[in-house]
Amino acid sequence: MMYLDKELSLLNSLNIGEKCVVRGLTSEGKERRRMLDLGLIRNTTVEAALRSPSGDPVAYYIRGALIALRSEDAAKVQVSAL
């Protein structure tokens, strides 16, 4: 409960160049496992790096790798400001 003071938002609301910290995932099953395998576990810093020509997907820096996520998938990652 130590994060209550920081407001939760969703990863897809991040602007390019902004960083945030992962607080949790709302996805289930295989999808959740895939996110965890990307390194999206609690306290991981993520930076939005690139927007594709049509605006979606967006590529994020996650643990040194550049990973593209669609907006609705990024919306399943809860984050808070650094």
């Binding site: 999808e31 997907p57 590529a59 790798a65």
Partner: protein
């Protein structure tokens, strides 16, 4: 007295140069590419070192063994149930933290592992330094640094493999310790399944997986070693806790072994990405790149094609003279020269030059790391069609060969999206159709212009044809995803690997060699028998008409509904084994009635087609039908193998055919109507 044969598996994330390491050790030329899923099934190779024979198995590139895609299952089941003697885990020096996730998962299955930190040259460029000793100490297994593209580190790797297998060098791998609750539950399962497993380590790995309760893995467990699902007690949180523990361990090891001199190490990549994927320039640059590649292909292929065809003509004449001089039967001379040699030579001279130019250029793009950016740029459109952006990658593979493209669809995780990608793959023109498209475009649409405008127009038309095939793929995907393959959308993750300076010289040499072998092999395997059969059809007469004639005239009426003719349709049907032979069949059928004319130059080919009633509209219809018709037999077989379903194979056969026929019907009838109104 020890063994002298060992099996070594190669595992690693996609894009880490695993195939390059593999090829370096085996001397094999497996095509390597800078994108996920280039190795789509286990590839095998051999290596001999100090009188020991090693069988090397190249596993599909994966980020994990646990998140359930088809290729992960292939890699994981191999490691768990086939138990290779040891594993080489190849990791990318510029992205170690991400790569360690897989390494740690492998270490949970076996401790007989060597970690090969590849792409050290790229890491140096980015001022990333990797403490190999520290990494080795932390992981408890030998670590070797390498730059496989230049061969650096390969002899050390061989020596390490030798030491681990023959000298049985020990490793000191610590178990990852999970929370007490998980450890306790895992221990309970461990006791139950220990007897059925090959090692304690595998038993522990499987216990943890049973705790996670992954349906598909449970199935493959039951199939492989008869462990039933009930063995596990599972809580939803276990999955998270296990995954988190591995990631955290990876982070700790990474922080202790890797240091950055420059925190902005990927600044250059981001600059390039901003140009190649931005809103205003991303898609135009993509079209421009392909347009330029097509243009170079068309211009460059022209001369070698002419040269090859006049060379082959002399060879053919020489064979004919020699055979006649030694008194060979006229019929046999004709079978050999007019049937087999002519078809084979045609396939080689028309197919080889453009493909030997196109593929090296395409491979350079691939090596550079551009193809995943295409998927990134186009994902939105694929999403609208209810499919996955990675389908763009499988389409790129389809350029080479649709059968490869179909197998490549394993990189798509969701079964339904994967099926859609499989069924629509043949809408992308493959190696066997590309040169025919170029030929048709050159003789019918741009021949009247002078250089360089003719080639520029050809390139633009070819580009439009490719764009058309992309639209058709998207359209058909949309149709499938909203009808028979309606599915819940799956999550989308796509890694954009770091850019790498392509090794242009090396790529060209390898890729040209690959293409020459591929085209020559196809020519021998397909064109030789096809040439023989078609000659027989064209020369066996019943009454006053050849078998081929009977066939073509019997379907002529039907074909004309679609703006084609009996010969064209017959050529496509007889060309089912391979698209390469469609044009030669047309030529042979058209020339079979008259004395054989030479068809070495494009002008003569144009004359042959027009005297047989071709108009520009016919050419357009043939072009469209080349693009959209049933996949070749090899592709159909591959589709069946991949889907295990006659239904989907039939659908993959029928849908493109209907699309092609419909388009041809509309084009020919609308143009007829226009001519009628205008005339």
């Amino acid at each position: 007295m020890g063994r002298n044969e060992f099996t070594v598996a190669f595992a690693g994330n996609p894009n880490v140069g695993k195939s390059t390491v593999f090829n370096n050790l085996t001397g094999l030329n497996q095509h390597t590419g800078n994108w996920s899923g280039k190795t789509v099934s286990n590839a095998f190779g051999c290596m001999s070192y100090k009188n020991i024979t090693y069988t090397l198995v190249d596993l599909p590139g994966t980020y994990s063994l646990l998140s359930g895609s088809k290729e992960e299952a292939v890699a994981r089941d191999y490691l768990c149930f086939q138990s290779p003697d040891m594993v080489v885990a190849v990791v990318d020096a510029t992205c170690i933290e991400r790569n360690l996730n897989l390494v740690l998962q492998i270490l949970e299955i076996t401790s007989r592992v060597i970690v090969c930190v590849n792409l050290l040259d790229e890491a140096q460029k980015k001022s990333i330094s990797v403490d190999l000793k520290e990494l080795s100490r932390r992981l408890g297994v030998p670590v070797v640094g390498s730059s496989a593209r230049s061969g650096r580190g390969m002899s050390e790797l061989k020596e390490m493999i030798y030491n681990m297998t023959v000298n049985e060098r020990k490793t000191y791998v610590d178990k990852i310790i999970y929370s007490p609750e998980i450890e306790e539950e895992a221990e309970k399962i461990f006791e139950k399944i220990r007897q059925k497993c090959k090692s304690d380590r595998i038993a522990r790995f499987l216990s943890l997986r049973l705790l996670e309760n992954d349906e598909e893995f449970n199935k493959s467990l039951e199939k492989s070693i008869g462990i039933s699902v009930e063995a596990g007690v599972h809580k939803k949180e276990y999955k998270d806790m296990i995954a988190e523990e591995i990631i955290k361990t990876a982070e700790r090891i990474f922080l202790s072994a890797v240091s950055f001199k420059n925190s902005e190490y990927n600044k250059r990549d981001r600059k390039i990405d901003r140009i190649l994927t931005s809103k205003s320039t991303g898609i135009p640059i993509m079209l421009l790149l392909f347009g330029v590649i097509f243009w170079i292909t068309i211009v460059g292929a022209n001369y070698p094609s002419q040269w090859l065809s006049s060379l082959f003509e002399s060879v053919n004449q020489f064979v004919r003279d020699t055979l006649t001089n030694i008194g060979t039967d006229n019929m046999l001379v004709s079978v050999i020269c007019d049937g087999i040699l002519k078809t084979t030579f045609w396939v080689i001279s028309v197919m080889l030059p453009p493909m030997a130019i196109f593929f090296p250029l395409f491979t350079i793009l691939e090596d550079f790391g551009y193809l995943p950016r295409i998927a990134f740029n186009l994902d939105k459109y694929f999403k609208r069609s209810g499919t996955h952006g990675k389908q763009a990658l499988t389409m790129c593979m389809g350029f080479g060969c649709n059968a490869c493209g179909v197998t490549g669809c394993r990189i798509i995780d969701s079964p339904k999206e994967r099926l859609i990608a499989i069924i629509t793959n043949a809408l992308v023109p493959c190696n066997g159709r590309f040169p025919s498209l170029i030929t048709l475009i050159s003789i019918f649409f741009s021949a009247s212009l002078v250089f360089p405008f003719n080639s520029i127009l050809s390139a633009l038309l070819l580009l439009s044809v490719i764009v058309l095939s992309v639209f058709a793929t998207l359209g058909l995907s949309k149709l499938l995803s909203s009808t028979v393959l309606k599915s819940e959308r799956s999550s989308f993750t796509l890694e954009l690997p770091p850019y790498r300076a392509p090794q242009i010289g090396r790529v060209i040499v390898h890729s040209v060699k690959d293409r020459i072998i591929f085209v020559l092999w196809r020519a021998v395997a397909v064109a030789v028998p096809a040439g023989l059969i078609i000659w027989l059809l064209a020369n066996i007469y019943i009454g006053d008409s050849s078998l081929l004639n009977y066939f073509t005239s019997s379907i002529d009426g039907f074909a004309r509904i679609f703006g084609l003719d009996g010969v064209i349709l017959a050529a496509f049907i007889l060309g089912f084994p391979a698209n390469e032979i469609v044009m030669p069949i047309m030529i042979m059928a058209y020339t079979s009635n008259s004395s054989l004319m030479e068809y070495d130059s494009l002008t003569q080919l144009h004359a042959l087609f027009t005297t047989n009633g071709w108009t520009v509209v016919t050419a357009i219809c043939v072009l469209i039908f080349f693009l959209f018709h049933f996949p070749c037999s090899t592709t159909c077989i591959t589709i069946y193998k991949e889907t295990k379903s006659i239904k989907w194979t039939m659908l993959a056969f029928i849908l493109p055919t209907i699309l092609g026929l419909t388009a041809c019907f509309l084009i020919s009838n609308i143009s007829r109507l226009i001519f009628m109104l205008a005339g």
